[in-house]
C-alpha cells in the first residue's frame, strides 16, 4: 500500500482516538454536575429509578417550588442561607486578598530575616487537613462566643485562604519587574502611588485568580461550616443541603435544586473574572 496513505490513515485514527478519549474524560468530569442539574427538575421516583432513567420523562419545577415554599412543605430558608454564604464568602475573600497582597508583595520585593522559614511555615499550614481542625476550632469558637456567627466563619476562611493567596500573589508580583515601580517613583509617584498605579494593575490578573480561588473555597466549604454554624442565621448553603435529610428519607430532588442555586453564582463569578485571568499583561513592558 502507498506509504503516505498508510500514515494518513494512522493520523486520522489517532485523531479519532484523541476525541474519544477526550469525550470520555469530559463525560467523567461533567456527568455528575449534569446529573445534579437534571435531578433538580425530576420527581424522586425518576431519580431513584433502577435502572437509571437517562432521558427524563417528566421535567418540572416542583423541587424549586417546594424549596422556596413554606417550611412545613419541604421549604428551606434559601434566601437566608444564600445571604449568609454571600456575606461570609465575600468578606473573607476581600480580607484574604488584602492580606495576600500585602504578604505577597512583601515576599516578592523585600528581604528580611527568616523570610524562607516564614514562607515554608505558611505553606505547611496548607498541609494540615481542614477537618482535623474542626474540633479545636469548635472549642475555641465556643469559648470566644464566635460559634454560630458570621464573624467566626469569616475568620476561619481567612486563615484557610491567606497562605494560598500570599503564595499565588507573591508569584505574580515576582513577575512584575522592580524597574516598573522605580520608573513610577522617578516619574513622581510615592511608593504607595507606584504600587496602586503601576504594580497592582500589572499584577491584577494574579490578584483576580487568587480572589476566585479564595471565594470558591469559602463558598463550597462544608466540613468546618457544618461544625461551626448551627442556626438559620449563620448556616451557609452547603450546610443548608442537610436540611433535606430527615431521619428516614432524603429529598434528593430538593437537594439538587439547592445545589444548582449554589453553582450559579460561582459560575457567574468565574465567567466575570475570567478575562482578568488571561496572563501576559506583564509582557512587553520590559525588554524585547
Amino acid at each position: 500500500m502507498n506509504e503516505n496513505l498508510q500514515y494518513r490513515i494512522r493520523a486520522r485514527l489517532l485523531k479519532v482516538l484523541h476525541f474519544v478519549t477526550l469525550f470520555i474524560a469530559m463525560a467523567i468530569i461533567c456527568v455528575p454536575g449534569l446529573w445534579v442539574v437534571l435531578n433538580s427538575f425530576r420527581p424522586t421516583v425518576e431519580i431513584m429509578a433502577k435502572p437509571p432513567v437517562w432521558v427524563p420523562g417528566d421535567l418540572n419545577l416542583d423541587n424549586y417550588r417546594a424549596m422556596f415554599g413554606a417550611v412545613g412543605e419541604g421549604g428551606v430558608p434559601v434566601l437566608q442561607y444564600f445571604t449568609n454564604s454571600l456575606i461570609i464568602s465575600v468578606t473573607s475573600t476581600l480580607i484574604a486578598i488584602l492580606v495576600g497582597m500585602a504578604g505577597g508583595y512583601a515576599f516578592a520585593r523585600f528581604r528580611f530575616k527568616g523570610k524562607a522559614s516564614i514562607f515554608i511555615g505558611l505553606m505547611l499550614t496548607r498541609a494540615v487537613p481542614g477537618v482535623s481542625l474542626s474540633l479545636p476550632l469548635f472549642i475555641v469558637m465556643a469559648k470566644t462566643g464566635l460559634i454560630d456567627t458570621h464573624m467566626g466563619l469569616i475568620l476561619v476562611y481567612v486563615a484557610l485562604n491567606v497562605p494560598f493567596t500570599i503564595w499565588l500573589i507573591d508569584g505574580f508580583f515576582r513577575q512584575v519587574p522592580v524597574e516598573l515601580a522605580e520608573a513610577a517613583e522617578i516619574d513622581g509617584c510615592t511608593r504607595w502611588q507606584a504600587f496602586w498605579k503601576v504594580e497592582f494593575p500589572v499584577a491584577r490578573a494574579g490578584v483576580a485568580s487568587a480572589g476566585i480561588f479564595a471565594f470558591l473555597t469559602s463558598w463550597n466549604e462544608y466540613a468546618l461550616a457544618s461544625q461551626l454554624t448551627r442556626s438559620t442565621f449563620s448556616k451557609t448553603m452547603p450546610v443548608g443541603l442537610r436540611d433535606f435529610t430527615s431521619e428516614f428519607t432524603i429529598n434528593w430532588g430538593g437537594m439538587c435544586a439547592l445545589a444548582v442555586l449554589m453553582i450559579i453564582p460561582a459560575l457567574i463569578l468565574t465567567f466575570l473574572v475570567q478575562k482578568h485571568l488571561i496572563a501576559g499583561l506583564t509582557f512587553g513592558g520590559v525588554k524585547g
Partner: protein, 362 residues
C-alpha cells in the same frame, strides 16, 4: 538643566563596600558617560544619583540642592532603564503623559507635551498602542520620550541600548546624540560598551571596583590613559602591553627586541626600573603597509600567527616576549599564517606604565 556634584560618595551593603568615596563634577548640559566592566559600581552610582539607592556616606547635589535624602520624585530627574520599564497596561500616550498626570498638570498641557515628545521621537503613529505591540527600537524611543516629557534637570540612562541588536544599537546611539543636541540637558549615561562611551560622551568616567580610574574627554582617555586598566579598556582592539626593564635609555623586553625609551618619557624613568610598554595596534604596522612615521620609530621582525582581514585594513596577531600582540596592516595584501614580517613601532605614540603601580609615567 543643572550641575550634578558627587562628593566622597560611598555605597556599602552591610560590610561590603561597592563604591569607595568617588568625587565627580558634572557640568550643566554635559553628556557624561560612566563606563567600566560589570560590577564596577557604575550602575550603583547612577541609582544613587536617581535616589533609588540610598548613599552610605558623602554628598550628592543636583543644581544647588543637596539631594542626599530626597526621594526620587523630588529630584526632578528622568531615567531610562535597561529594560525600558514601560508601563505595560498603558498606551504609549499614557506612558508618555504619566509623570505629568501624577503631577496633576492640566490635560491640555499634558497633551501638548506628549505631542511634542512624540514629534521629536517620531512616535506619533503608535500613540494608542500598548508597549507589548511595539518593536524593541520603538519601546526604546517611548522610554526616552517618557524621560523628556517632564523636562528634567538631569537625564539618567542605565545601559539603554544593551537590549537592542547591533544595527539598531548604532542607530539609537545616533538618536540619543541628536536628542542631546535638541533637548539641551545634563545627561549621565551608564554603559559597559566603550564604543558607546567614546561616541556619545563629552567626558568619560572610567570606573573599576568602585573607584574612578580616569575622567576625561574621549580623546584624552584614548591618547593619554592614566593607567594600564584604562589603556586596555578604552580602544578596540585593546592596547598591547609588554613588560620590560629600563637599561641605558632603552627598554629591554624580556625575550624580545630592545626599544628606545619614547621621547615623552625620557626624563621620567631610571635605570633598572620595571616598566610596562604600551602601544596600540594602530602604531605597530608592517613596513610598506604603515602610516608614514613622523617621529622616532623602531623596527623588528615578528612572525604573524593569524590575520583578520577587515577590508580597509587587516588585523595581524603575532607574539612578542611570549605575549600576544596585535598589529594593523594598511593597504592590506594577503598574509599567510606563519609569515615573518618587518614591523615598525611608532615611538611617539607609545605609553609607559610603572610595573608596580600600573600608573602612567607620563
Amino acid at each position: 538643566m543643572a550641575k550634578v556634584n558627587l562628593r566622597k560618595v560611598v555605597k556599602k551593603y552591610g560590610a561590603l563596600q561597592v563604591v569607595h568615596g568617588i568625587d565627580l563634577e558634572i557640568d550643566d548640559n554635559e553628556f557624561v558617560v560612566l563606563v567600566g566592566p560589570s560590577g564596577c559600581g557604575k550602575s550603583t552610582t547612577l541609582r544613587m544619583i536617581a535616589g533609588l539607592e540610598a548613599i552610605s556616606d558623602g554628598e550628592i547635589s543636583i543644581g544647588e540642592r543637596v539631594v542626599n535624602d530626597l526621594p526620587p520624585r523630588n529630584r526632578n530627574i528622568s531615567m531610562v532603564f535597561q529594560n525600558y520599564a514601560l508601563y505595560p497596561h498603558m498606551t504609549v500616550r499614557e506612558n508618555l503623559g504619566f509623570s505629568l498626570k501624577i503631577a496633576k498638570r492640566p490635560q491640555e498641557e499634558i497633551d501638548r507635551a506628549v505631542e511634542a515628545a512624540a514629534q521629536i521621537l517620531s512616535l506619533s503613529e503608535y500613540m494608542d498602542r500598548k508597549p507589548g505591540a511595539l518593536s524593541g527600537g520603538q519601546r526604546q524611543r517611548v522610554a526616552m520620550g517618557r524621560a523628556i516629557v517632564r523636562h528634567p534637570d538631569v537625564f539618567l540612562f542605565d545601559e539603554p541600548l544593551s537590549n537592542l541588536d547591533a544595527k539598531l544599537r548604532t542607530q539609537m546611539r545616533t538618536e540619543i546624540k541628536k536628542l542631546h543636541q535638541k533637548v539641551k540637558s545634563t545627561i549621565v549615561y551608564v554603559t559597559h560598551d566603550q564604543v558607546e562611551a567614546m561616541t556619545l560622551a563629552d567626558r568619560i568616567v572610567i570606573m573599576r571596583d568602585g573607584h574612578i580610574e580616569q575622567v576625561g574627554t574621549p580623546l584624552e582617555v584614548f591618547e593619554t590613559p592614566a593607567n594600564t586598566f584604562v589603556a586596555t579598556f578604552i580602544g578596540s582592539p585593546p592596547m598591547n602591553l609588554l613588560a620590560g626593564r629600563v637599561a641605558d635609555g632603552e627598554i629591554a623586553i624580556e625575550g624580545g627586541p630592545q626599544i628606545a625609551v619614547p621621547d615623552p618619557f625620557s626624563g621620567k624613568v631610571v635605570n633598572g626600573q620595571e616598566v610596562i610598554l604600551g602601544f596600540r595596534s594602530d602604531n605597530l604596522m608592517p613596513a610598506g603597509h604603515a602610516m608614514p612615521m613622523e617621529g622616532g620609530f623602531t623596527e623588528f621582525d615578528m612572525k604573524v600567527d593569524l590575520s583578520e582581514p577587515l577590508g580597509t585594513e587587516t588585523l595581524l596577531f603575532g607574539s612578542l616576549a611570549g605575549k600576544e600582540v596585535q598589529a594593523k596592516m594598511l593597504n592590506p595584501r594577503p598574509v599567510s599564517d606563519g609569515e615573518e614580517l618587518r614591523f615598525q613601532l611608532d615611538l611617539t605614540r607609545c605609553h609607559l606604565f610603572d610595573a608596580n603601580s600600573q600608573q602612567s609615567l607620563r
